[in-house]
Symmetry: C2
Subunit: 240 residues, 2 copies
């Protein structure tokens, strides 16, 4: 049984303030919950309104109405897991770090987390004004990858100005990424959806890179998640 | 002045049925409207509640309330353009055609249209159950590219079974795209978000291709728009 005060607590986790206060976040759906458990995330409470729960983990039975109350989805899918926000280790500068400077859209961040998982990038460093990676929409869009990729929120300027690595940043006038030697791990910065990389961070970029458009394209830019897809692919592409 | 019956008509265009019936669709925002006009789309009616409209085109002045009524956005931005749905020419098989088999998410379709614009692919052929490219969310996500890329809705099986071109399709077990010779234009098929390419269309694919993940990635798949980003980039990448 789940008591009223728990329902109130879980509902509060839709908001960043309370996720931070309680150190908890939601994963919805049986598959995502199972992946989180398999990846060692610590469950706080697992709820379901499905009668036949063939699972090795203890789910609390809730009513359909209760599930609708605690779910952040328009169409809840029967399973809501509340997990402890994992502790991050220190950043490992000997491996690639993807830096996000002010990404606002939850769908974009979720997609980028999923891309990092696919392309074997295990660390994302976000500016403090980047959308929270534990928001329900980000978790959903990451399709389980949030349980495998570490996401950090730091003062970007402080971290980047003291690091000794090559810092790549995407700019319209940068060098084509197919010509860049990505053999030594460094840092890659992607910027905000509308504004790109902020001025302070631009000043710290040591190599400007770009994704060339084709022919006489009149398109002005790529969506930040599309840019991440192309970049990470190119970084990991085996060169002849 | 915009009369009540026009407001009702414009509001109806939020729905596919009425877009089809009237042959009209919405573009919101000054920039998008200007791009549409520059690209030769025929305006039916342009509305704005902004007093100081420095523009060479005739906008009808509407009240803030009226604009909120006709807009499909949560936060309308002052300009709603109603345009005639452009007539498509016949498909040109001498150039690349991107085929979408059952893509459902408007954000994904909009992003894919924007990607095609960036990478110089001017034709997208969709199955009839793919989301409508003139839905307000798709138009918004395409960031103006819907006015430059032609989108067709056809019986995919009929078109693909009678065409003589190489038909590439993305599958988990396909050949790595970096090893494919994309020098002769053909057809590339991407599938539905959850199900991938349908069985009937799979049977028509002549070359199975895939985007390799890196190392021991546990991620199951890429989002369809991310896959499109990587694929189109690789197709257009200049090889040594």
């Amino acid at each position: 049984m789940v008591v009223k005060s728990q329902i109130k607590l879980i509902k509060s986790l839709h908001q960043k303030k309370y996720r931070k206060e309680h150190g908890l976040f939601l994963i919805e759906g049986k598959k995502g919950i199972n992946e989180a458990l398999a990846n060692g995330l610590e469950p706080y409470l697992l709820c379901s309104n499905i009668s036949e729960m063939k699972t090795t983990f203890a789910y609390e039975k809730v009513s359909k109405l209760e599930l609708e109350q605690i779910s952040a989805l328009k169409n809840p899918n029967g399973y809501v897991g509340i997990f402890k926000i994992p502790k991050t280790k220190s950043l490992d500068f000997s491996n690639w770090i993807l830096v996000l400077d002010g990404v606002q859209d939850p769908g974009n961040l979720g997609t980028i987390i999923r891309l990092c998982d696919w392309f074997g990038i295990s660390q994302i460093l976000c500016s403090k004004d980047t959308v929270d990676c534990f928001s329900p929409k980000v978790v959903q869009a990451s399709m389980g990858s949030i349980t495998r990729v570490l996401v950090y929120y730091e003062d970007l300027e402080a971290v980047l100005s003291s690091c000794k690595k090559e810092i790549y940043g995407t700019f319209m006038e940068g060098n084509a990424i197919s010509k860049i030697d990505f053999s030594i791990p460094g840092i890659i910065v992607l910027g905000n959806e509308g504004q790109g990389i902020s001025k302070d961070i631009s000043n710290l970029v040591s190599k400007k890179i770009s994704i060339p458009s084709f022919g006489n394209s009149e398109a002005e830019s790529l969506n930040v998640a599309s840019a991440a897809a192309v970049l990470l692919y190119e970084m990991r592409r085996v060169r002849p």
